[in-house]
């Protein structure tokens, strides 16, 4: 009962080609086949947002997308956020500066949701940001420091444009 597909995609700037089982979702493919374990799986039914990655510029729950559907797509995960020489993305820096994480499990999904959102909405205010991350559950922080981090990062990202 095992059907496979061949996929070609770009992940964090690198071309990848692989044979995947048809039923394998994108999160499992990234984690187990490409060993990009920064993308976390928290609920596997598309509610917690921990597995969020950016596919062709749009935040996507990688537990609700088959790897085969990513054929031809450009995918960015948390491992692709910092620059190649290790300089942190403004969001990563802001999460660190603002204590925007505790256990860190939801953090990659939070940042991938926000990176896509802030690119589209560079002037977002607190309410906008709370709505934007309403599909990402964090059990540790109470969200406030995540919101602070997002507001900080938005400012840095605006200044860079």
């Amino acid at each position: 009962m095992s059907y496979t597909e061949r996929v070609q995609l770009t992940v964090n700037g690198q071309a990848q080609e692989a044979e995947v089982e048809s039923r394998t979702h994108l999160a499992d493919f990234l984690r187990h086949q490409l060993r990009l374990t920064g993308t976390h799986v928290g609920c596997e039914h598309g509610v917690c947002g921990a597995c969020t990655v950016v596919v062709d510029g749009v935040p996507v729950r990688s537990c609700l997308m088959f790897a085969a559907q990513a054929n031809g797509c450009t995918v960015t995960t948390v491992e692709g956020l910092a620059s190649k020489d290790g300089v942190l993305h403004p969001l990563q820096q802001a999460f660190w500066n603002n204590h925007g994480l505790q256990c860190g499990f939801c953090t990659p999904g939070m940042m991938m949701t926000l990176v896509a959102y802030l690119q589209e909405n560079p002037n977002a205010d607190e309410d906008d940001i709370r709505d934007a991350i309403s599909g990402n559950i964090c059990r540790c922080t109470g969200y406030e420091t995540i919101v602070n981090a997002a507001l900080d990062a938005a400012q840095v990202m605006r200044e860079r444009i």
């Binding site: 009962m1 089982e21 039923r23 394998t24 984690r31 060993r35 990009l36 374990t37 920064g38 993308t39 976390h40 799986v41 928290g42 609920c43 596997e44 039914h45 509610v47 917690c48 921990a50 995960t77 948390v78 491992e79 956020l81 910092a82 942190l88 990563q92 999460f95 660190w96 500066n97 204590h99 994480l101 505790q102 256990c103 860190g104 499990f105 939801c106 953090t107 990659p108 940042m111 309410d127 940001i129 709370r130 709505d131 991350i133 309403s134 599909g135 990402n136 559950i137 964090c138 059990r139 540790c140 922080t141 109470g142 969200y143 406030e144 420091t145 995540i146 919101v147």
Partner: protein, 775 residues
């Protein structure tokens, strides 16, 4: 030595790896050749297993093995050892690793399939055929002690797990003389932990020798090692337990679970590394939760509304097994009398079996529900006597000058429970001042506009820094790097940063020069667990003591090397130097190299080798944190929706090691409590089938529902430990549900609503308004 880090908002040393995707949670560990397990779990709340047919599963391609209790002999039939074995547990009925003949809640593991991939193992698990004889189940804990109630375990005389009784003072006299006595019935419900990382276990036999290594997403690696060794009949030295990065714990990851024995058994049997990662559905079915309580209480008050005494009874739903002693129930009882200087308390608490998931501590343990009933009683007195709820607290709190204050309750070792320090009035007045004195006017104005706003306050005391110990060793390497090792595990609290701060100040190094290693039984010999808000007090004090010993040793050796008196030396920037002659110095790393020895060269006389020290700070007495929360809400009476307008926390956990981390603990805790007040309910039907097994049905707080949380710190140092700290992990949660519910009730004043339960859903709020209007 100048204080540079202790007390400062230092950024976390844990973060760089976590924000770049380089964390290593259990499912991220690159274990070569690992195979994957999936469990077959009971679909019934109570049933007898008649036959298990594994033939179809075994013949599925990709399946390596299928095990039931039969395959592991006695080791699978023995019930698991108890985490906290105590005599008050009358019927200590615990899980078997795989259920052999009877299952006592939905989700109990009955078989395990090991396959080449998790997906293949899950496919095959669905082909394991189990014949069950369904037995009557007890689901309603309030009826569990009825003579004709179904027994949660067949063949038992009744459903009583244990009966607790806490009392002090002349209760009958106080009630007989009290001018005011009010009775109230409460029902409290607390949900699960819902750490964003589910549980998981991996195990392998070492390639040489007889060692077993177990990785588990736990709060208590040393306890888990002890229990695995105990159950498997091994010496502890042959079992290594490692907690890798752990994605949240909140209590239930401290329990000892069947999977923590079954996965090692499968790894031993197969000679292969085996891994199991809980999925969210399994989390709802198998990770312990905090369960229901019902309370019948009376409160006695004087003419001015000063609280005098509380008495009554609680029935506490234990669920189907007792893996963790009676910790949740005991902490409910020992949370009396809260911040109040009561003259008498008499509480009976019956712990009963039901055919539901076990009740073990979730953030706050049994304290939040006791806080809820005490605070609701205080509000009831205020309401009946038409006085300000703050005045009831002012008149009833333990006063600052009364510390150390023996409450009258007895601790587990028979000693008197004694509050060490605090300023309960200070926290209360601070939040009231920030909250503003004009709330009554604002409420009246809002009401004129058809808006229903309310304010609630809730105060608490939390016993923290639980006995017995958590040790630490501090060692300087020849490179000058300082290594701190401890048994204390971490699930996101920022312990590594906190330990590094404490150590860096004493050794005069930067926190970047310190590596903290924890939660691996091979690195540190003993440990208890990251529970009960205890790590800062216990491990923090040990790091302090070990660092001081290393400093003393470094100065002593440097005095020999530099030929200077110890009193003339200072330790700064990782270098011991002569005061006033900075050219005369020796770096810590060089001292460490000397102390590591060289063949044939004698060492310094009377000085042990190694620039290192190990300390076990012994927590003989409990430190008590405290605080008051103030909550403002608006209730939409048409939809029942509650919006939290403002949330203020007055918090006192003694000296703050890192205010940023303490704030993080407080905020996260408060939001957990908001979930308990308004959203989270683990519901079952009459057969014990869970009605909420995903995040569409079980609601967790998300960012838009959560307010900013304003925090005021009051610092009453604990006199009991060298760094003056108290625990901060659970104080956010403890009074939150009480405060939110008080505010909702206050908002609904015009409808004569009294709320004696939580959580309250929008539908329930609408119902309460209707019932209040009908009265």
């Amino acid at each position: 030595m100048g204080v540079r880090y202790f007390g400062a908002e230092v950024r976390r040393v844990e973060d760089p790896k976590l924000i770049t995707g380089r964390g290593q949670y259990l499912d991220d560990l690159p274990i070569a050749g690992v195979v994957h397990a999936a469990f077959v779990r009971s679909p019934h709340a109570h049933a007898r297993i008649q036959r298990i047919d594994t033939a179809a599963a075994k013949s599925t391609p990709g399946v390596i093995a299928v095990y039931t209790a039969e395959d592991f002999g006695d080791v699978a039939r023995r019930t698991l050892p108890h985490m906290v074995p105590v005599a008050i547990v009358k019927q200590p009925l615990n899980y078997q690793p795989l259920a052999h003949s009877e299952v006592c809640h939905v989700g109990v593991p009955v078989a395990v399939v090991v396959g080449k991939t998790r997906a293949l193992a899950e496919d095959a698990a669905s082909l394991v055929n189990v014949d069950y004889e369904v037995l009557p189940a007890i689901i309603d804990w309030r009826r569990a002690l009825d003579a004709n109630a179904p027994r949660a375990h067949s063949g038992t005389p009744d459903n009583l797990v244990g009966a607790l009784h806490g009392r002090f003072g002349s209760v009958e006299d106080v009630f007989a003389k009290a001018p005011h006595v009010f009775a109230e019935r409460f029902e409290t419900h607390r949900g699960g932990c819902h750490s964003m990382e589910c549980r998981g276990v991996a195990a392998m036999m070492d390639p040489f020798g007889n060692g077993l290594t177990v990785w588990t997403s736990t709060q208590a690696p040393h306890m888990i090692r002890r229990l695995i060794a105990d159950h498997l009949g091994r010496d502890e030295r042959t079992v290594r337990v490692i907690a890798p990065d752990v994605g949240g714990g909140f209590g239930p990851k401290c329990a000892f679970y069947p999977e923590e024995v079954v996965i090692p058994l499968a790894a031993i049997e197969l000679g292969l590394p085996v891994k199991w990662v809980e999925d969210r559905h399994e989390h709802f079915l198998s990770t312990t939760q905090q369960r229901d309580q019902s309370w019948d209480l009376e409160v006695a008050a004087d003419l001015n509304g000063r609280l005098l005494a509380v008495r009554g009874r609680c029935i506490h739903d234990n669920g189907g097994y007792v893996p963790y002693g009676l910790v949740a129930a005991v902490t409910s009882l020992s949370a009396f009398p809260g911040p109040y200087a009561l003259e008498a308390v008499d509480i009976k608490l019956d712990v009963v079996f039901t055919n539901l998931i076990p009740n073990t501590p979730v953030r706050g343990a049994g304290r939040p529900t006791t806080c809820f009933v005490l605070e609701r009683l205080a509000d009831r007195v205020a309401r009946e006597l038409s006085i300000d709820p703050a005045d009831v607290r002012r008149r009833s709190f333990v006063r600052k000058e009364q510390f150390p204050y023996p409450t009258g309750m007895k601790a587990r070792d028979g000693s008197l429970v004694t509050y060490d320090s605090g300023d309960y009035h200070g926290c209360l007045e601070a939040v009231l001042e920030l909250g503003g004195a004009n709330f009554d006017e604002r409420r009246t104005e809002a009401l004129a506009q058809g808006r229903y706003i309310g304010r609630g306050i809730a105060s608490y005391v939390e016993d923290t820094g639980l006995a017995p110990f958590e040790g630490a060793s501090v060692r300087v390497e020849p490179t000058g790097r300082v290594v701190v090792q401890t048994g204390a595990a971490s699930q996101g609290q920022g312990h590594a940063t906190m330990f590094a701060q404490i150590c860096a100040d004493i050794l005069g190094v930067r926190i970047e020069d310190i590596t903290v290693e924890a939660a691996d039984t091979a690195l540190f010999p003993l440990g208890i667990g990251a529970i009960a808000s205890r790590t800062a007090v216990t491990a923090g004090s040990s790091v302090h003591q070990a660092s001081l010993a290393v400093r003393k040793k470094a100065i002593k050796v440097a005095s020999e090397l530099l030929e200077a008196a110890e009193g003339d030396l200072e330790l700064e920037d990782g270098v011991v130097r002569v005061v006033g002659a900075p050219g005369l110095n020796v770096p810590l790393g060089q001292i460490a190299a000397k102390l590591n020895g060289m063949s044939g060269i004698p060492m310094f006389q009377g000085i042990e080798p190694g620039l290192a020290s190990t300390a076990f700070y012994e927590a003989r007495k409990t430190t008590f944190a405290n605080g008051t929360h103030l909550v403002e809400v608006e209730v939409d009476i048409d939809t029942g929706r509650v919006k939290i307008l403002r949330y203020i926390v007055g918090h006192d956990c003694g000296r703050l090691i890192n205010p940023m981390l303490v704030d993080g603990q407080v905020r996260g805790g408060v939001v957990h409590g908001i979930g308990n007040a308004l959203f989270e309910r683990v519901q079952h039907d009459e057969q014990g089938q869970p009605m909420a097994v995903n995040y569409s049905d079980y609601l967790l707080p998300t960012a838009p529902e959560v307010p900013r949380i304003e925090i005021i710190h009051i610092e009453s140092p604990s006199p009991l430990n060298p760094i003056g700290v108290k625990g901060a992990g659970e104080g956010g949660t403890i009074p939150a549900a009480a405060g939110v519910i008080a505010a909702v009730e206050d908002a609904l004043r015009p409808f004569n609503v009294r709320i004696t339960e939580h959580p309250v859903s929008p539908a329930r709020i609408r119902e309460l308004i209707r019932l209040g209007q009908a009265d």
